[in-house]
Amino acid sequence: MVRSPVRRSVPSMDTPDQASPNAATPAPAATAPVARPAARAVDAVKIYGRGDTSVRALDGISVEIPAGRFTAIMGPSGSGKSTLMHCLAGLDPLTSGQTWIGEVSLADLNDQQLTVLRRDRIGFVFQAFNLLPTLTARENITLPLALVGDDPDPDWFDTVVEVVGLADRLGHRPSELSGGQQQRVAVARALVSRPDVVFADEPTGNLDSRSGAEVLGFLRRAVDDFGQTVVMVTHDPIAAGYADEVLFLADGRLVDRLADPDAEKVLARWAQGEDPVGSAPGEGSTA
């Protein structure tokens, strides 16, 4: 069953003037098109392996991730979605081409600088295993800040925690939280350091539709209310419906984009696209 996106029904937060701290010019949500992209790839090629067994995971793709927007990436399994995200986030070097976070070209950075960049400017939500089992929810949320030695801004921390609805769960360890709660902790962590971009790779892949909807709602609010930039890989048309724009990938190339999507539009676009190789939408497969 298909539900419509809930973004317009989200009650507005009482910190409307909250701006993204790092982006120089955070565009207010859902307004004019963005001047400066938060992240960008140009002619990005990523080849895994060598010789006969080599795989061209990214095949000269160029994309821009607009700041202050919620971008979804869809495509059949193996189409290079995760690879694109990893390369944009500085987790994986390109074979050729270039990627930028803001004005920083990742190709120029060494491991230490990349690490610092991830820590300071990027938030992650993975499909599973997002949290350190030894830390409480609170500690997991503040981990990126703790790694710099910073204390979280208490107001912002409270806001984020309240948004994701975890106020009474902060002392629990991941093993004491449900899958949905764990993902909400991960979202809170991705938001608490006010990164330039939050990358989420199938954040709802392991969740039931209700928990998934909650997590997606929080990502949406982060964009709407706090001007956050979010990039999300998903197989789920409903999830994609929360985004401002959907990028379609196939065989390591950008094949289509869809603005202001909802589940029906995504499904329709999907259906008319080239035969989605070996993967039905909604299938939750991960590496």
Partner: protein
Amino acid sequence: MLRITLTSAWQHRRRLFGTVLAVVLGTAFLVGTLVLSDTLRGSFRSVFTDVNAGISVVIRGQGGGQVGDITAQRPLVDTAILDDLHGVDGIAAAEPEIEALAQVVGADGVSIGGQGPPTLGVNWIHDPGLAPYDLVEGRAPAAPGEVAIDTETAEAGALAVGETATVRTPAPIEVEIVGLLTPKGGASAGVTITAFTADEAQQLLLGRGDRATRILLAADGGTSDEELAVRVSELLPDGVEAVTGAVYTDEALDDLGRDFLDFFEAFLLVFAAIALLVATFSIYNTFSITVAQRLRESALLRALGASRRQVLASVLLEAVITGLVASVLGLVVGIGLASGLLGALGRFGLPVEGASLVVGVRAAAAAFAVGVGVTIVASLLPAYRASRVAPLAALRDVAVDRSDQSRIRLAIGLVLLAIGGVFVTLALVVDGGALERAAIGAVAVSVGVFLLGPVTARPMTAVVAGPVQRLRGVTGALARRNAVRNPRRTASTSSALMVGVGIVTLFTVVAGSINATIEDAVDGSFGGDLIVQSGGFSGAGLSPQIVDELRDLPEVDGVLGLGLGVGSIDGQQSVFSLVDPPALEGMLDLEVVEGSVYDLPGDGIAISQSHVEEDGLRLGDVIEIQLVDGTVLEQRVAAIFVSQAADAVGTRLVPIEAYAPHATQLGYISVMVALADGVSLEQGQTAVESVAANHGSPDVFDRGAFTERAVGDVDQLLAIVYVLLALAIVIALMGITNTLSLSVHERTREIGLLRALGQTRSQLRAMVRWESVIVALFGTATGLVLGTFLGWVFVRAIAADEGFGVFAAPVGQLALVVALGALVGVLAALRPARRAARLDVLTAIATE
């Protein structure tokens, strides 16, 4: 299943490497010790057999021999027996052998040798078959005042044929060196030899011209040794016996074994055992982890029908394979170790040149039994536990293990601690048998502490890690959480170090206490202002002449010579102090309870209060002392004083005039000197040293130097012990490395996540390092507390039994031990931290 086990063992060879290494080191130490002592035994046997090859029969006094810890001398033999032997058939040669102590003084005026191996004074034996040495330069001594000495002594003393030298017997004698000799078999083992003519040797060394230590016979071609021994026996008076050369050699070897080789072997074996114990802990830990990891990995296999039994069998099989591999390597490394050490021992004059290594069945069997045994024992519990884990638990992610806060473990641990406490209390409160009770208590407490490890791991690491966390922020916090996430693993990882550090601490504390006791006892063993002591304990002693010479010095006010007598009291070999009683006055501050010590009559004896309490002796009782020469001294108790066995005068004082006529060589062990008024210590020391120079330059100490030297001996021994314990610490270190590597492997995804979230490589390395340091400090702290406690119990128990002993924990050294523990943590983390930092972030995230 066998194939699966073998392939899995092969695939995990990296993990098993640490295990193998721990076993290899332990077994190598063991094998090295056994091979070395077998080889030494073998080469001593061949040397002794060589030396005694020409001796068919030995005629000697009966009695003496080994009584308790003391080797008593046999009665001397009357040389008149030689005349009776003239007519006996089958004797090719017969010569008396005279053997006592005589120490050569080198050209620089300092006595040579005497630090352990005896300094022998002997008669020249003309028959080359009977003589234990060969003449290599010059000629045999033919007249009084002529000697032949061994080449090594000549070299050490810069003496040559034709030169004159001083020999102390212990009275200093001027001699001319006419010949040089070498012991048969080549190696001296540090024994020095001075050969006089037979007549002079009798006079100087035995004090009478008609006696010999023994008589040596060589049989002619037609008579067997046994036959000759029987034939000769018939002619011998009572109290004299004849034994074959073979028996004589065996006895000599037995003595050597008892005095040196057995001790040497046992001493090293103790440390091999400690190393193996530590190895057992670290292997146990490695197996626990690999088994746990394997269980999860092979969950599929089990779902396909592998039974618990098969899991158990496969783990044990892996242990056997590991143990076998390690044993073979241990054997090889051990043999290498032995051959290396053998070379080193050769430099101390042991007869090892050209000796081929003796790799006995004993050593090989020990290598395999211990190598495989230790590995199996260490893997049994993990294997059993693994086989009992529910299949579902195997599939679950046990990232944080809380399973082991077991109440049973807690209960047993606490009960053992209580039992230990009771025994220790009993040991210290109730009279007698303190050491036994304390030992039981110590074992109970140690096992209790070990069992409580997982329970104490959490709170203890919290204490240890507190500063780390404060200092290193989130890195410290993560390290701490990792250290306590699996308390059982933390506890067993650190227990290897706990054992090592515990033993180091125990030795440190005991040595510290011994030193404190010595310092404390200096009051009881140091009298006057200066003390003259002959260098070693196997030298010739100090001539009584020195006492007179010192007394003649204007700088000197009083002199007290202290000698040691040996005799049998109530059938027990006993030692007693020999003094000139009036000289005690004003020199040693003896607390006299009854009677008078200072005018002890010639037939009197002074005893300590302890003999009154334990043996029920009273003033006026007569004590019979049977001396080596058969005489029985009857001494009447004339004084009772307070003293301890450690004090200079011991617990029995006999006037030297009663003992002197029966002593073959009368010498003092130490001589105390009181300086005249107005003479400074430096002036006194110079004066006393000038006299001492004529007596082989024995050491002259003031009170401070005396204490220092006594304490220095203990410290030297402690240094050797530390070196031997280093192996155990290294094994413990490898155990921590191993566990950390396995943990890092287990946490690949977490590490990937942390790196993705922005943990830098150096932060990651620091995290692993601090975890290691926390675990190491936990082990160190536990070991330190346990070792100090056991040391305290040990010292107090001895004090309760023996009536003396002061407990002292050397704080500085113990602080060093803690630093060492932290260092172990840092070193152990090097490899795992590097490997963790090298993990590729993406693969780490992707790893399932």
